[in-house]
Every structure is written in C-alpha cells, then in structure tokens.
C-alpha cells in the first residue's frame, strides 16, 4: 500500500472544502529569468500552462499534503489558445545570440494524457523545436506517466538530449512519501522512471522537499542528504531542493495555522547546499526559495534573511562553491541550533 488511507482521507476532506475557490479561467503565464545550464549561464523562459491540474491532486486520494497549486488551475483548459500563446511568447522573447532553457510547468504532469492530450504535447514541443538557441527543455511529470512510449512520441519532435524531465520525488524515504506527503508512489517507481528516461537519452532533475510535515527539520536535513546520495547513484545529475512554502488549502497550511509547523530555517538550506556541494562537486544543485523571508516560506530571524537568500540564489546560478564560504553571522544561529534539536526531540509542539 503506497497510500496511508487515514492521511488520504484527511487530505481529501481539506481538498474538497477548498476546491470551490478554484478559478475558472486563466491565461498562460510566462516570465524570463536567469538560469544555469549545464554549459553555463543562460536565460530561462518559464511557462505555467493553464491545464486542469494534477490528476493526482484531483483523484480520490486527495493529492499531496503540501500542494495547493490545483486551486490556481482552470477547470476547462483551451489547448488551442495555449499553443498560440506559447508561439507568440517565444517569438517575442527569444534573442538571436542568447542561450535558452524553456520550462513548461503545468502544476501537474506534462506527460499525463488526461492533463495535456498527446497531440497537444507534440504541438507545444513543435513550437519550441523551431529555435536552435534553446538548449534545454524542462517538463515536469510524476513517474507513472514516464514510459518509453510517452518519451518516444516527444523524441519525434525534439532532440531528446535537450529534454529534462523534472520529477517531484520529494524524498527517497517511502515512509515520508506515504505518511507525510501522500505522494502516492514510492522510491522504486522513481528509480524505474529515471532508468527509462536516461535510457531514452533524456535527463532527469529530482525535486527534493525540505521539510515535509511531521518530520523535524533535523531529520529532514538528514533525509535530504540521504536522498541526494541515492538519487545521484541512480544517475540523476541535477537536484533541486525545494524549500517549502505553505500553500493555502492544504494539510500543511492547517498545521501551520495551529502552530504545529515552522517552515525551514535559511541556515539549514544554506548548510545543506554547502554539504551537498562538498560531497558532490559535479552535481548541479538548485535551491529555489519560494516565499523566502516570509512567515509562510523559509525564514530566519528577519535580520539575516535577505543576505542568506541572496547567497543561495547566487550559488544556484553560478554553482560556485566559494560563494557558500562567505562568513554570515547572526545572533539567531544559536537559536536555530537549539530549535532543531528541540524540534527533533519533540517533533515540535511549538
């Protein structure tokens, strides 16, 4: 059983209570940002496709305990319009002498036929294939939609070497996947998907979640480190440590409002990057801090937040270890230490 029935029930209840607030229509959102390709600095164009949302989140099991993206997805997607918008955006943005990474995010799985019919998957990629400046195409998918068939369809349109499939693994610990996140799959499923992807010539980026509910920050740090070693072993060359931001309408948000969860400290993320990069110098370590410095995102005491966020951002972009050697000092360092150990001992009731 990959699902904890009791947990799924609670999550489904929360999901159903909040689903009404879902927006009914939304346009394609896109922006440009700095990005690190394997070959060096570049630009990235990020598209958030207005699909109907993640099938797992819409399922009877309620989806993940931490994810509220579904509430932003429209109920009736217009794929013709999506393809048209992408075409227009690319035309406007892509410069001749710049390298690009294109990120196609759906808040679900790009490869899920129920979310994006295969014909439109192909249509969208065709638009991208036009540009040689694009060196990397990132799509996101749950492992169950990754098969040699689904990838084969894409490889007819694009150079498969450019494809990177980002998989939200979150943790390599099945206990956490089952009892904390309600992820619905296990480490073994991820492993299988990685093999298929790599065998097909594409690459995998693994998302790891810091820190899931019911897991202390200390233990989550250990879990990330342990997961990184396992993920690297499976052949993945990019990991992204996703520091939690608390989405409304989720189990996590309920815990947070009851004072039973504190988002991670920036100290932890800073030291995680340092430890991982020391151990795996060639691994691309990405750490995007969503809502950093706010109450619902990773934060410290308030006075050192900005500095640390900037250091981590810079490191993500440059992959330069020296940036992490900067000496940051703040009086909250001791409190962070004591908080972590105390939280570990009592799984925080603060």
């Amino acid at each position: 059983m990959k699902i904890n029935k009791n947990l799924a029930e609670i999550i489904t209840q929360i999901r159903n209570d909040n689903l009404e607030s879902r927006s009914h229509s939304r346009d394609l959102v896109h922006w440009e940002e700095d990005h690190r390709l394997r070959s060096g600095a570049a630009k990235a164009i990020v598209f958030i496709l207005p699909t109907k949302g993640c099938s797992w989140a819409l399922s009877n099991s309620g989806g993940c305990s931490i994810c509220g993206y579904l509430y932003d997805n429209p109920q009736h997607p217009d794929f013709e319009k999506i393809v048209k918008s992408i075409r227009g955006a690319l035309k406007g943005k892509i410069q001749k002498d710049e390298k690009y990474s294109i990120k196609l995010f759906t808040s679900g799985s790009f490869l899920d036929k129920k979310e994006i019919p295969t014909e439109f998957q192909v249509e969208i990629l065709k638009e991208i294939a036009i540009y040689n400046q694009i060196e990397e195409i990132v799509i996101e998918s749950r492992p169950e939609y990754i098969s040699s068939n689904t990838i084969a369809v894409l490889s007819e349109v694009i150079n498969i070497n450019k494809l990177e499939i980002a998989i939200g693994l979150e943790s390599s610990n099945n206990e956490i996947l089952r009892n904390s996140i309600n992820k619905g799959f296990y480490w073994e499923d991820f492993e299988k998907a990685v093999k298929i992807t790599i065998d097909a010539g594409a690459r995998v980026k693994a998302y790891l979640l810091f820190k899931p509910p019911f897991v202390s920050e200390y233990d989550s740090t250990k879990d990330i480190l342990y997961s990184v070693s396992k993920v690297v072993e499976s052949g993945v060359d990019t990991i992204s440590i996703n520091s939690i931001s608390i989405h409304r309408g989720t189990l996590l948000s309920d815990l947070f409002e009851k004072n039973q969860y504190r988002p991670p400290w920036l100290w932890s993320l800073f030291l995680l990057c340092k430890e991982i990069k020391t151990q795996f110098p060639d691994l691309r370590v990405i750490c995007d801090i969503v809502a950093g410095g706010t109450k619902r995102g990773a934060h410290n005491c308030g006075s050192c937040d900005k500095d640390l966020i900037e250091i981590i951002r810079e490191f993500t972009l440059t992959q330069d270890f020296n940036i992490l050697n900067k000496d940051v000092q703040c009086s909250c360092y001791n409190e962070w230490k004591s908080y972590l150990i105390h939280e570990k001992l009592s799984i925080s009731d603060l």
């Binding site: 904890n4 019911f214 200390y218 342990y226 039973q260 430890e275 972590l340 150990i341 105390h342 570990k344």
Partner: protein
C-alpha cells in the same frame, strides 16, 4: 498481584527517594543522583549542573554510521563512569507522527514504531518517545516490559492550560510507567514550573528555554522572564563581566532552579516548595487542587510519613498536604486512647512545638496538677488544631505534629471545621459512655467544633474556658476546680493506669505499624532509658527491643521483637529467599510488599512467616511491587540465628 520478574533485567535508573510522584533517581550501579535534572541539548564545555547532554552531529552531514551518531551522554563524575551501567543512550528511533496528530492517523504508525523499537539491540532500546495520546495505549505494555530507562514525553505542553487533563495525564502516566524510569519533558519550559512538574512525576528538562529567551532578549530570573533592558539586578559572574553573557546567565538560572528542587527532595520539603511556586500559574495552582481532591491517594502513599522537615502550612493547599492528610487519616483509623481514660480534655494548639513545651500548655499542665494529681494519668488530652485537626497528646512528638507551622488567625474554614468535627467524633467513639469531656478551648472556630459533641453524643461536656482565653486566670482556675470536683466523684479505677511514656510509644506504634501493634509490642513491663531530647531506649527483659528517635518522634523496633506484630503490621515485605545477603533489598528479592508502606518507613522483611530483618524503605510499597530492578530498602538490623 502479579509482576514481571527477571533477574537479568537492569534499568539505568533507580529511585533513591520519593516524595509524592517526584523521585530522586540515581544511576543503578553507582547511585550517582541524576534526576531531577537538566539536559543540555548540545555538548557544552561547562557541564556542571547538567545531568547529561545530547551529542548530535550538527548540522547533520552525509551519513557514515548513521545509527550511532545521535547520543545522549550522562554527566557522571570521572570516578564513576567506569562502574556505571552505561555512559549514554542512543537516540535512534522516534515515532513518525508527532503527538498532535490524531490517533486515527498515527495508530498504525505508532504500533510500527513499537515493533521496530522491540527489534533493536539493547543499546538502542534505552530511549522511548511517548506521544501524549498513547499514554493509555495497551501497546505501551510491550515497551514497559523492556528495560527501557528513559521516556521522552511529547505533547504535554499542549495541556498547559487544561488543568483537568493535565492532572489526569500525570496520574495515568505514573500508574502506567514503571517507577524506576525517568520521564523527560523536552522543550522550552519556564523554570517557575519545574517544582510543580517534578512533583507531578517529570524527571528531566532541557535548556532549550535558555536559548529561546536569550535570543529573544529575555532575562530569566527565578520569578520568570524579564526584558533584557529592564530587569531586576543580578550579580552573577556572567552579568558582571565586561561583556554580559545572557545565555550563560539564563542557563545558570535553570540550573539553580533544578538544584533548589533537588535540595527540597533531599530535605523532604518539596511539597511546601510546590505550594509556594504554584501561585505563579493559574493552571498549576488549579492542577494541584485537582490532584489533592481527586488523586491524593496516588501521591499520599508515596509521601514519607517519617520525617523531621519543617512543614509550612501557609496557603489553603496545606490543608491537603499529603503528610497532613495522612496524619488525619491515621489518627482517625489507628489511634486508640488508653482504655482507662476517664476524662477527655480538649485543648487549643500552641505555636511552639511540641505543645508541651509551650507556655500555654505548661500553664494547662499546672492547672491540671493543681486540680487533681491522682487524676492526671486518667486524662486523655486531645489538641484541636489546623490543619492536623486532632493531635492526641501521645502523638505530639511525631511528624508532622511537632514540625508544622501555621499563620494563626483564629479563623477556621468551613471545610476544616467539618473535617475536624468528623475526626473528633470518630475518636470519641473509643471512650466509654461515662467519660467526661472537658472543653478548655475558646473562640468561634473551636466552639463550632466542640458544639458538635453535645449535638451528636451523650457525653457530659463541661466548658472550662467559655468566657475567656484558655490561659487567662479565670479559665485556668475553672479547669483546676472542675478537675478537683470530678476527683471527688470517685471515678478512680482499681487498675493502675499506664505511665505517659508507655501511652506515647503505644500510640506511636499504632500510628506507625497499624492499630493494635502498640499493645502487642509494649507490655507494662517495659523499661525506658534516656530522657528527651535524647533517643529513648526501650528495654524488655533486660534486652533493648526498640528505640524512640528524638529527631522524628518515631520508633524503630528490633526485628526479633517485631515478631509479635507480624500478623498485625502494615509494613511487611515478603522476601523471596530465606536469608538476606548484603545490606540492601533489591527488587527481584521482593515477593510482595504491603501497599501501605511509605518511603522512609521502617519495614519488616518476612520469610517463611518470620521476620528476618528490619529495613528502611526507599520507595512506597506500591512502587516496590512494580519495580523490576534497583534498591527497594536498606537493611537496618538482621535477626541473628
């Protein structure tokens, strides 16, 4: 009563003494005291004052030998480390779900945690994390059966504003968990609460509040937290150095707070300390009252009766002080006056203890002598007092009668009056119908109590102090003349009444060992040596058979002599073997202990229906029956064959 016995089971802790639910726990082999104590959540250089510290890799790094990296190390002196059972415990397992998660979600996981825990090797089975909601779970039995020594209790702070549940939980915890384990309450907890929490059965805290307060600019004092910019002055070395160290100062306050409680346990004054401290928290003040009203049995039978600690009865809570309640209970159930008593004299109490040494009681004595010397030994004196209710003259020297102190106002609460009436009427049932009652008390509170005698009984009551204070000339003269008058009524008996000393030791024995034991132990042929304030030696047929201790007012009876009360004593421990090696009784040696045994009690060790030794109990009989390892009692005297 069945209990799990196992010879090879050894827990790290053992109780060295007990007051209520609080315990002084020591390391089993070296007896080095560890709790009540403070755990440092990180490995510090200054270890003094800490019971132990966590040594966790920080921050966590890539695992090499994951299992053995997280350790709790006990702070034992260098000379004792090698002898002790373990240097520290591994912190390897924790339940997945936190204590705030509903049982419906975590049950499956908790049982998995228990299964996993059981499969661990011994070294990793020493710390068990117990979420609050599983205190009553039958699954817990599996852990209790192991020799796990430390329970980390999580989630209890959520109950800090729910006094009813808080007290219930504490009581359940103590009923459930073995007495020779330590309970550790992690997290930031104000040192002002330590005394109450320790009294409720918590053994260990940590210093996380020192970090928390220091970070947020709070200056801890024994009275609570103040802003670092505006706080009462402190002259400790950390505050007086050129660069004041707030964290160190705050740590010191925590250490002092624990030290103060350790001292209170050693000196038997914890309850007074708790009564003093709870006034800083509404929840805990309410919790203590709930304890006293609903669960006092639990605490009472674990509170020493034999003590010589001063007992301050200042607040309303003191009326429910376990020693006080136990005294009232024993006077009611165990006291029988000398059968030849013809007159009951009711007297007010005095500030000076024992009462006999006070000016007022000396005046009463003189007036009694002036009245009738022959009658003196036929008078049974009962002193009416708050909060002990009734102290018979024979028991005025024992704890707590000789050691309590109250703010005297002359006002009685309705509850005190009711309780005192009840006990007085109960005692009066022992006297024959024709007994005359002299009421030499004065004042509204006293009269409300004594009125009940006339209402509820048919005794003849003569008030000798109804118009003025008992020590006034008027009242004293009336007492003398009344006694003179009675002496002429010729109520003298043929039998010679016992001397006061004999009455005293008989009443003390009844109080200490159970009703009827005084008469069995001490016949009229008893001889005394040594006068107050020295210990009084008691001889029978030229052999010493007992001692009356001046420090506590209690007896110790030599085991040979105690054979006389073997079937009447409430202080018996049935021993597994027929002779005792060494000078201690350990848990595996105890077949059954009387549940009425209190810590510090003198107990009799029984084998094959024979008393083979006398001993001093460390813990209550209730806990002796639950312990699987550790010392229960220390032998005082063995019977030589």
């Amino acid at each position: 009563m069945s209990k799990i016995k196992s010879g090879d089971k050894l827990r790290f802790f053992q109780p060295l003494s007990q007051i209520g639910l609080s315990r002084l726990l020591g390391e089993t082999r070296t007896h080095h005291p560890i709790t009540p104590g403070l755990i440092s959540i990180e490995n510090t250089i200054e270890k003094e004052g800490y019971s132990g510290f966590f040594d966790l890799p920080f921050p966590p790094t890539f695992p090499k030998n994951r299992k053995d990296t997280e350790v709790l190390i006990w702070n034992l002196p260098d000379t004792k480390i090698d002898k002790s059972l373990a240097k520290g415990f591994f912190l390897s397992e924790q339940p997945f779900y936190a204590s705030y998660v509903p049982d419906s979600l975590s049950l499956e996981n908790f049982s998995k945690y228990i299964d996993k825990f059981q499969s661990l090797d011994e070294a990793h089975k020493q710390i068990f994390t117990l979420p609050l909601s599983y205190v009553e779970s039958p699954l817990l039995d599996k852990i209790i059966e192991t020799d796990c020594s430390l329970y980390i209790l999580t989630g209890i702070s959520a109950l800090f504003n729910n006094q009813r549940k808080l007290t219930e939980t504490f009581v359940k915890l103590r009923e459930r968990l073995p007495p020779d384990i330590a309970i550790y309450l992690p997290g930031p907890i104000s040192p002002a609460y330590y005394s109450f929490l320790i009294y409720s059965g918590i053994d260990l805290f940590d210093n996380s509040i020192a970090y928390y307060t220091s970070k947020n600019g709070y200056f801890l004092t024994s009275d609570g937290a103040f802003s670092v910019d505006n706080h009462p002055p402190c002259y400790c070395k950390y505050c007086n150095s050129a660069k004041p160290e707030l964290l160190k100062h705050n740590e010191m306050i925590l250490k002092n707070a624990i030290g103060r409680i350790q001292y209170a346990i050693k000196t038997d004054t914890l309850r007074s300390l708790v009564e003093q401290d709870i006034h800083s928290s509404v929840t805990f003040a309410a919790s203590l009252r709930l304890y006293d009203n609903n669960y006092s049995e639990n605490i009472q039978s674990r509170t020493p009766i034999i003590s010589s600690a001063p007992l301050k009865c200042i607040g309303e809570e003191s009326f429910s002080h376990p020693s006080v309640v136990e005294f009232r209970k024993r006077v009611k159930e165990r006291y029988t006056p000398d059968p030849l008593s013809k007159i009951v004299l009711l007297l007010p109490c005095s500030a000076k203890k024992p009462y006999s040494f006070s000016r007022s009681h000396m005046l009463f004595r003189k007036a009694m002598k002036d009245g009738s010397k022959e009658l003196l030994n036929y008078i049974s004196e009962l002193i009416i007092t708050s909060p002990l209710s009734i102290v018979p003259r024979e028991l005025e020297n024992i704890f707590p009668a000789r050691f309590y102190d109250i703010p005297v106002t002359g006002q009685w609460s309705p509850y005190e009056i009711d309780e005192t009436k009840l006990i007085l009427l109960e005692i009066l049932k022992h006297y024959p119908k024709e007994t005359i009652i002299l009421n030499h008390t004065y004042g509204d509170g006293y009269s409300q109590i004594t009125e009940s005698i006339e209402e509820m009984t048919s005794f003849e009551v003569i008030n000798t102090s109804d118009s003025s204070h008992p020590t006034s000339k008027n009242s004293l003269t009336k007492l003398s003349s009344t006694l003179k008058e009675i002496s002429q009524r010729e109520i003298k008996s043929q039998e010679r009444s016992s001397v006061p000393q004999l009455k005293q030791i008989r009443a003390t024995a009844d109080f200490q060992y159970g009703p009827g034991t005084g008469k069995l132990l001490f016949s009229n042929a008893i001889k005394f040596k040594g006068k107050y304030p020295r210990d009084r030696q008691i001889f029978y047929e030229k052999k010493q058979v007992a001692t009356l201790h001046k420090s506590t007012g209690f007896l110790s009876v030599f085991p040979q002599h105690a054979q006389k009360i073997i079937h009447h004593s409430y202080n018996n421990l049935k021993f597994m073997d027929d002779h005792i090696k060494g000078s201690n009784i350990f848990a595996p040696g105890c077949a059954e202990a009387d549940n009425r045994i209190h810590p510090n009690d003198e107990i009799f060790v029984i084998s094959n229906n024979k008393i083979i030794a006398s001993a001093t109990a460390f813990v209550s009989g209730l806990d002796m029956n639950k312990m699987t390892s550790g010392k229960l009692a220390e032998i005082k005297k063995k019977v030589r064959n």
